[in-house]
């Protein structure tokens, strides 16, 4: 629908300013419609489903009562809470230490360490879990470290989730740390505060919002991830796995909806806290702040290096062991090299076609998604008037942040698979999965694009309007080229996310369009751990390969399009 509108736009150019406004509002409402379809309506259907019985009769809160009474679910909820709190408490200091070492030292190669810190983003959450089995499983390399303990259970899941959530926490804390004001440190030094005191009274208070917001993000991620608990959870049952069991294993959709709603609660809560904090934080930063640059200090740098090494190597180990395991013939009895695990024909999960599907899905999501997001952000930021439509669009753009993938996936099942839905025929197609991915990752992509657009002076539009140049010409000739780096960032983010995500797609996937990340779970369920590791390796390699390719492209484009940023 959108591409049709775009194709139609250039010809409308002759219509002049009156026609332009009409086209702008058409565009805006088309975007709102797409997001309502891909986000709003599926969510509404979860609420509806949670108050119905299996045959669709209205049962009020009976499903909730049933779920709350079932001891298995109660235990799963308390397990989930315990897990979320533990992981959050552990990942925050780790991510903070790593961010501090990156931003407050003068070490060489910090850019490389940054990539190491973010490397878990390239892998589905199943990868660390599989690596953990090879490291600490009963035949694991480092099994002795556990002194007879067992990786299957609470602590195994904690370790896997640490790896999975680390880069998310790191990104947020790095942003917070980099906003430091050098004048404060100067004042502290002059007043005689030592490094420790400076750290406690300036650094920590400065990042407290970042820490809280990272904590909320991590907590929500842990609660809604089922990749890690599924592989190394053993008998440790969590809510996310319970929702999966209810819906896929027992086809009990109303109960699945209730569990899904339970999982929506912490996410909504985080969002509210976040918004509340954002309002207070604005006052804390001033425009006159001076960027902080660390002074030379070899002792501090040595400490930073140790921190980076310790955490970085742990991350690389959890990524690398799975990759290595996929080439081993028969762990632990025959350690010869083999490519046999990459022949997916004899195992469950859809094999190479699943991988190809995932590539297609990720590419389509990246291309269509970044276009959609960029047009949406432009409409939100740059076009005049249409206050109601724009605030609706903004709300829909921020909504996905509060919706875990698992909940969104359930919503898609309930909404698009309803026989009365005219789009029913779309169910199970690749197109629907693309829509689902775009909706799921919309917020981050939108914020990136909007930030880039905000850096552009609004006068471009004002001048264009006075010259009677329609907005799409400005968009195409000015905004788009200037924001190309941000656009490439968005595309990369969407590609990697679509490649590695599991939570939403596992519910709407069909045997014709099986996906790589989902097939990892299927293979592991059937006991083909090496094949699962092989597929996870493929996913990591593709994400890393594309990221590298886009970085090169970005450099190339940067040289051509970003010359204006340089002085002189």
């Amino acid at each position: 629908m959108l591409s049709a509108v775009l194709r139609w736009l250039p010809r409308g150019g002759q219509a002049g300013i009156a026609g332009e406004a009409r086209i702008a509002s058409l565009l805006l409402w088309a975007l709102v419609a797409v997001l309502l379809l891909g986000l709003g309506l599926p969510l509404l259907f979860i609420f509806a489903k949670s108050v119905q019985d299996g045959d669709g009769g209205f049962v009020c809160l009976a499903n909730f009562a049933q779920v709350l009474q079932s001891p298995g679910l109660l235990r799963a909820s308390s397990n989930s809470l315990q897990l979320g709190l533990t992981v959050t408490a552990l990942v925050l200091p780790l991510a903070f230490a790593f961010a501090w070492a990156l931003l407050r030292s003068r070490l060489w190669g910090r850019g490389l360490w940054r990539q190491v810190g973010l490397s878990p983003l390239l892998a589905p959450s199943l990868m660390p879990a599989i690596s953990l089995v090879y490291l600490f499983g009963n035949q694991g390399l480092l099994k002795d470290w556990l002194h007879g303990g067992n990786i299957y259970g609470f602590w195994g899941v904690v370790l896997g989730e640490l790896f999975y959530t680390f880069p998310h926490a790191l990104l947020i804390i790095m942003t917070a740390l980099s906003a430091a004001d050098a004048r404060l440190y100067e004042a502290g030094r002059v007043l005689g505060a030592g490094p420790l005191r400076q750290f406690l009274t300036i650094t920590l208070p400065g990042v407290r919002y970042g820490l809280v917001s990272a904590g909320l993000v991590v907590f929500t991620l842990v609660l809604t991830d089922f990749g890690v608990p599924k592989v190394v959870g053993g008998d440790f049952n969590v809510l996310a796995v319970e929702a999966f069991k209810q819906v896929i294993g027992q086809q009990n959709f109303p109960r699945g909806a209730v569990v899904g709603l339970l999982l929506l609660l912490p996410a909504i809560l985080s969002c509210l806290v976040e918004r509340h904090m954002a309002r207070r934080q604005q006052a804390a930063l001033t425009a006159r702040a001076q960027p902080f640059a660390p002074a030379p200090a070899w002792l501090r740098d040595a400490g930073a290096l140790l921190l980076l090494l310790a955490i970085g190597l742990l991350l690389l180990a959890l990524l690398g062991v799975g990759v290595a395991a996929s080439f081993i013939k028969y762990w632990p009895y025959n350690l010869d090299f083999t490519l046999a695990h990459y022949q997916f024909d004899t195992v469950d999960g859809g094999g190479w076609s699943a991988y190809v599907n995932s590539l297609q899905l990720a590419t389509a999501t990246a291309v269509l998604g970044s276009l959609l997001v960029f047009v949406g952000a432009y409409v939100c930021e740059k076009l005049p008037g249409m206050a109601l439509g724009r605030s609706l669009l903004r709300f829909l753009a921020m909504l996905p942040m509060a919706v875990p993938g698992l909940v969104l996936g359930l919503g898609y099942v309930f909404f698009f698979n309803h026989p009365a839905n005219p789009l029913h025929g779309w169910y199970g197609s690749l197109g629907l999965m693309v829509l689902c991915c775009i909706a799921h990752f919309y917020t981050t992509a939108h914020l990136t694009a909007a930030t880039a657009l905000k850096q552009l002076d609004g006068e471009f539009e004002a001048v264009a309007a006075s010259l009677k140049v329609p907005f799409w010409v400005t968009w195409w000739r000015v905004s788009l080229p200037v924001c190309l780096p941000a656009l490439v960032d968005v595309a990369r983010f969407l590609f990697v996310s679509a490649m590695t995500t599991l939570s939403a797609l596992i519910f709407i996937m069909t045997p014709e369009h099986s996906l790589a990340a989902v097939s990892i779970i299927t293979m592991d369920d059937a006991g083909d751990t090496a094949a699962a590791a092989a597929m996870a390796t493929l996913v990591v390699l593709s994400s890393a390969g594309l990221s590298l390719l886009l970085s090169l492209l970005e450099r190339l484009l940067g040289r051509r399009n970003q010359r204006w940023r340089k002085p002189g």
Binding site: Q251, N417, T510, G527
Partner: protein
């Protein structure tokens, strides 16, 4: 509204509406066959019937059964090929199966065919409980080889055993059902209570315990003979143990869903499923098949295998499946604290 919602549930997850490559007829086949078997079976049928394409939806027994039941009012499958007879009997109790006597059904052992005339389902082969026992790890840990189900409750095996979850795996359910039938309900549950103390994990599929045993992850996996023999042939350091009290077992079977829109093609598949070429395929994987005289000796499976199967009352196992699974879940899934 009620009807609509039911239809909606029926369609969930099948993705039937996805555009399909056009052969003359496409049959949707639900199956709990092993992934490595599906490929051969599908190729053999499509070679014999070039104008019919099979679209397999493969999942573990529990998931396929739940899916079929949830689609009761709007069936998406044409044929079920390779599902536990106990599950098919549940579908039959719900009136979901089409009566049909496939051509050549008279050549099958009558015990392996539904008693109704014409039958609702026809058997393919027997699969039965087998313990995979890792000899290398056993030496390291000083574990004696178990000979019986009772042996598995000995304290020496604590935390060393894995078995399939009976709700998701047909192999898991046939174990539970056989223990209850062999030992009687009270003693059966008592036995499982004791076994639970030794159990390290309940896993999703019937193959996984044996694969875990073969990889030494846990030395003892309660699985079934096909997977055990296959892994042993590949060189896994395992012994296959056939507990002396008797082996729980079930039939893999075929049935046509009532309301199939491709009834003619579905009947072709039902015919193929009982034919000699099909039996020869099953025979490659299983020691006992429904057609007498086809089976050959597998070096890893004992000659008197058929006699070791426990007495199995299918009707009872099917009728009580839901109640048994509920009780199982109450006892072993809702414990207040993790075991270790």
């Amino acid at each position: 509204m009620k009807k609509q919602m039911a239809a909606c549930i029926g369609l969930v997850c099948t993705g039937l509406m996805a555009p399909l490559a056009q052969a003359a007829t496409t049959l949707t086949v639900y199956s709990a066959l092993e992934a490595d078997q599906v490929k051969d079976y599908k190729a053999a049928f499509e070679k014999a019937n070039p104008d019919i394409e099979l679209r397999f939806v493969r999942e573990s027994t529990g998931v396929i059964t739940a899916k079929l039941l949830s689609e009761k009012n709007n069936p998406q499958a044409d044929v079920v090929w390779g599902l536990a007879a106990t599950s098919l009997m549940i579908l039959d109790q719900q009136g979901m199966l089409q009566s049909y006597a496939p051509k050549g059904v008279e050549n099958l052992n009558r015990e392996f065919v539904d008693k109704a005339h014409p039958p609702k389902w026809t058997g393919m082969d027997v699969w039965a409980a087998t313990i995979c026992f890792n000899t290398v790890e056993a030496v390291k840990k000083g574990l004696p080889k178990p000979e019986s189900w009772a042996d598995l409750t000995k304290p020496v095996y604590k935390g060393q055993i894995v078995m399939p979850h009976p709700a998701s795996s047909g192999t898991g359910y046939l174990d539970v059902s056989a223990w209850l039938q062999m030992m009687g309900e009270k003693n059966g549950w008592d036995y499982m209570d004791k076994l639970h103390v030794n159990m390290a994990q309940y896993v999703h599929s019937g193959s996984k315990p044996c694969k875990m045993a073969a990889a030494g992850e846990y030395p003892i996996g309660i699985s079934f003979e096909y997977r055990g023999a296959e892994l042993k042939e590949k060189g896994a350091p395992i012994d296959l143990v056939y507990p002396k009290e008797g082996l729980g077992w079930d039939l893999e079977a075929t049935a046509i869903l009532k309301g199939s829109k491709n009834l003619a093609a579905a009947k072709m598949l039902a015919d193929f499923s009982v034919s000699l070429p099909a039996m020869q395929l099953y025979e490659k994987n299983y020691a006992v098949v429904a057609m007498p005289g086809v089976a050959k000796q597998n070096p890893y499976i004992p000659t008197d295998y058929a006699k070791r199967l426990s007495k199995n009352n299918f009707a009872w196992a099917a009728k009580n499946r839901e109640a048994i699974l509920q009780e199982w879940s109450r006892r072993y899934e809702s414990k207040a604290a993790p075991k270790n």
